[in-house]
């Protein structure tokens, strides 16, 4: 019984941790994407309308 409660509490904190980190992860991914996009634009600077 006690083990089960501890397991549930651990799972709760793991989910809470993930939830709190989500904006940071999104921010990191977005930053990485923008950096990569800028690199590709520099590599292929041509614009065709």
């Amino acid at each position: 019984m006690f083990k089960k409660i501890v397991k549930k509490i651990k799972a709760f904190f793991r989910k809470l941790n993930e939830f709190l980190k989500t904006p940071y992860i999104k921010y990191k991914r977005d930053k990485e994407y923008k950096k990569r996009l800028a690199e590709l634009k520099k590599r292929d600077p041509f614009i065709y309308k």
Partner: protein, 253 residues
């Protein structure tokens, strides 16, 4: 028996069209002074430069296949082909409507109309019409995150054209105006040995691709609005390709 006309078919993007040599996006003088035009002159072949401004690698492959399908007559023509591959991340997506890219390639010697069934996605352009604006952000994300897929796809196009030309017993040479980067991927490592390196100038050498090489060497074209090279880099690159041809005899006089 009448002698066959000697032709050099030149396929590629704006770089092989000689874009902006004289400051114009496309002109007869640009195509004449492009590295392909200079090679044709040296080989005493009539240039048929079908390069499109803004072409993708799939578009370049179609330029070759469709020209042979619609124009080639082996009874009257002796054709050699120069294929210049471009930036691998450029995409062509089947379009919901008929387009007209001829307006960007006004001086092409032959226009591959199949291009008008697609819209182009170039990393530096967010789109103009509704269809482009709707699709481009997602496709830009794909281009950024799936470069390995796109480079592998370009290598498959190279093989497609290599085997196509071999099947027709047509002499050819390939090169890169824009480099490929991911030669350390196992997927690509498995493809590269299938490409005939005696007919591909600087295969797998990203530092030797036309645009980047001469940009790194400091060449700047004051007439260009979009960074395309001027007359001198085209002449120098033509000399490089002709020196390679002297050794490997890809194209014939």
């Amino acid at each position: 028996m009448a002698t066959k006309e000697k032709i050099l078919l030149i396929a590629g993007c704006s770089h092989s069209a000689g874009s902006e040599i004289d400051g114009k996006e496309d002109s007869a003088a640009n195509r004449k002074n492009s590295f392909g035009g200079l090679i044709a002159k040296d080989l005493k072949r009539r240039p048929i430069n079908v390069s499109h401004v803004g072409a993708t690698n799939s578009g370049i492959a179609r330029q070759v296949i469709n020209w042979f399908e619609k124009e080639y007559n082996p009874a009257t023509m002796n054709v050699n082909v120069l294929v210049s591959w471009t930036e691998a991340t450029r995409l062509e997506v089947p379009s919901e409507r008929q387009r007209d890219y001829r307006t960007a390639s006004t001086h092409t010697d032959w226009y591959d109309e199949s291009a008008d069934h697609y819209f182009k996605v170039i990393i530096g352009w967010d789109g103009g019409d509704e269809e482009e604006l709707r699709n481009t952000p997602l496709l830009h994300k794909f281009m950024v995150e799936q470069q390995p897929y796109l480079e592998t796809y370009s290598y498959n196009l190279i093989l497609q054209i290599q085997y196509f030309l071999q099947s027709k017993k047509v002499d050819y040479m390939m090169c890169n105006t824009m480099p490929f980067f991911l030669d350390n991927l196992n997927a690509i490592k498995n493809i590269i040995p299938l490409v005939d390196e005696n007919k591909y100038y600087q295969l797998n050498n990203k530092d030797e691709a036309f645009f980047h090489k001469y940009r790194e060497l400091g060449y700047k074209n004051p007439k260009a609005k979009y960074w395309h090279h001027g007359k001198e880099p085209h002449q120098l690159y033509a000399d490089e390709l002709l020196a390679f041809n002297k050794v490997n005899k890809c194209l014939k006089k």
